[in-house]
Amino acid sequence: MLLYKAFFKIVKKNLPMILMYVSIILMITLISKVSLEKSAEERRALKYDIIVENKDDSEISKELCTYLSKIHNVTDKKLTRDQIKEKIFYEEILSYIVIPKGFGDSFETDGDLKPESLYDENMPVGMSVNMQINTWLNSVKNYQKLGLSLKESVEKCDETLNPDSYVHLETSKKNEKSLTESVFNYLPYGILSAILLSILPVFSSFNEEKKNQRILAAGLPATKRNLYFALASISLAMILLIVFDAIGSIAGGPEIMFTKTWWFVILNTLCYVICASLLALMISNIFNLNNTGVSIVTNIVGLGFSFLGGTFVPLEYLGDEAKIIGKFTPNYWYSTANDYIFQGKNMSNILLCFGLQLIIGVALFCVGLTVAKVRKKA
């Protein structure tokens, strides 16, 4: 108990620094959340309520209606001029569009007859719907000039024009899901830094030669000491795990909690925490660090692993060389597992990534033990 308590008293001394890394993760979470919400809002703002009155029944006028209903909220009520004015005044709709009779014929010939658009002159956004219509019509015409049929031209326009509306819709769906995914992807940075910052100072303090000698002189068996430190390290790792998983889970919202995905994500962080703790033990076996040393190592290892292992930059953006080195970091396999979990890949792939993290951890730990042993002999 004595050693266990002393362990945590020393950890407590470094609490401000550890909390700093917790707050970095909190900040990242908040920033991701705010930016996601903002872009969702922007997208929503792009979609207006409009009324389209189609007096023509040509193919092109129908296609135009379809197009508009894809990018805006369209109703096709027929209203009187006064009613229209009222609705526009109270901002129930942005604009009222009338496709005049004979528009289809005109489109194929001179193009003089254009859809008419009514909107509040004081609200310039009203113009934008007009512009969207013109752009679309021009594009369709241009594709037709290239020899495409009307249907083909419209399809081409769907692909090329207004990519924001389509792409946005898709990515927005993906992003909303991935707030959890991206927050959990950032966690290793916080976890690793916090674990290094809490474990390394304790071990370097106890391993300091003079103190170590004093403790040896007191006849404390090495096995007892190692046992208590192992227990303390595990408790510490679990506390940090709970803190970081809580941040990730709260960001994900109650929907994600206790789902299958969530359990996998939690298991992934558990594997990572184990590996990070073993790494910390390896470092403290090899180096005798002072306070400055601890923060230097924490920064180098924390940032290095995070960049190489896809914690900061998505794995697909990493260069080939970086990827090869990255594979030796637990972060790489953590990120891969995280991707797999949210893509719903099958279990064996995910479990393999878990296993690789643990293997890296054990390997690092063994390296540390060997170095310590060799040094003791010399």
């Binding site: 002393a6 001394k13 003079k210 103190k211 000698q213 004093r214 040896l216 002189a217 007191a218 006849g219």
Partner: protein, 312 residues
């Protein structure tokens, strides 16, 4: 009297260097045993071998009548070590430090609490109990270092140069404390290269050099072994070579040395030696600033046996 420490023919090599060369001695219960020697003579090495903190090449160590080895944690529990360097946790407060090191020996919480209080009281650190060691002065941190080593009330306490870089006031404090510990029943090993300290507190002294014993006994016994009985010392700005020869001819003088404007005249036996020197000086009109007579010190013992000064 019970023998607390017995060291037999200890040999310790660091590669080519022989740090301990067939070193033997024994300490009886209740002694303050002084281990005096110049820097690098092997004092710390001896301590570390006694406690099995170092492996040695030859020899045996018996503590409390039992053979000591690295696994004898039961024996280690009866000893307190105050090392040459301060070894405390900067992350823990004064109280927590003493409590931690005491806790390595004493499991019972109530006993421990009492012992820690006793140690705080004993070292005069009561007012600093909540402070971080980083904020303590040099003298106070030495006292903390001592408190951590004695809180568990050990039967044998080993001090390895506890007064290095300590101001005179704290030094006296520490020396008085060691005497008190001894009065309360602890056997003490005290290593130092300060002869005055050793002379002041030790009941028996072993002078060592280059890993082996030069001589041992009480301070008086040691001084009795040498021919030197008195030194007359003068501060002189200038003196002729012929006068140095002249001084040598005074009865009982066996050595005259002039260095750094200090003239040292050594006598072996004789009475009123200083007045004979004064007679010579006034006869030859030698100017001096100060003259005094001194009884031999342990330094003279060391000098006479090894031919070099204890302090470099």
């Amino acid at each position: 009297m019970e023998e607390i420490v017995r060291v037999n023919n200890l040999v310790k090599r660091y590669k080519d260097l022989i740090a301990l060369d067939n070193f033997s001695f024994s300490i009886k219960k209740g002694e303050i045993f002084g281990l005096l020697g110049p820097n690098g003579s092997g004092k710390s090495t001896t301590i570390n071998c006694i406690l099995s903190l170092l492996t040695y090449d030859k020899g045996e160590v018996y503590l409390f009548g039992e053979k000591m080895n690295v696994n004898r944690n039961d024996i280690k529990k009866r000893i307190g070590l105050i090392g040459q360097n301060v070894a405390v946790f900067n992350e823990l407060s004064v109280y927590e430090n003493i409590d931690f090191f005491c806790g390595l020996y004493i499991n019972d919480k109530a006993t421990r609490r009492k012992y820690v209080e006793d140690a705080l009281e004993f070292t005069g650190l009561n007012d600093y109990r909540k402070k971080s060691p980083k904020k303590l002065s040099g003298g106070l941190i030495r006292r903390l270092n001592i408190a951590c080593g004695i809180a568990h009330k050990p039967e044998l306490i080993i001090f390895d140069e506890p007064t290095v870089a300590v101001d005179p006031q704290s030094r006296n404090n520490i020396l008085e404390g060691i005497k008190d510990l001894n009065k309360n029943g602890a056997t003490v090993i005290y290593t130092s290269h300060y002869m005055e300290e050793v002379e002041e507190i030790c009941s028996r002294i072993l002078i060592m050099d280059k890993g082996h014993e030069i001589c041992q006994g009480t301070a008086d016994e040691l001084k009795g072994q040498i021919k030197n009985t008195e030194n007359v010392i003068l501060n002189v700005k200038y003196i002729d070579e012929s006068d140095l020869e002249g001084l040598k001819k005074i009865h009982h003088v066996y050595s005259v040395k002039y260095a750094d404007k200090v003239l040292t005249i050594r006598f072996s036996g004789g009475k009123h030696n200083i007045s004979h020197v004064l007679d010579y000086i006034s006869e030859h009109s030698i100017n001096y600033e100060r003259i005094y007579s001194e009884l031999p010190t342990l330094n003279d013992v060391f000098l006479e046996i090894t031919g070099k000064e204890l302090r470099d």
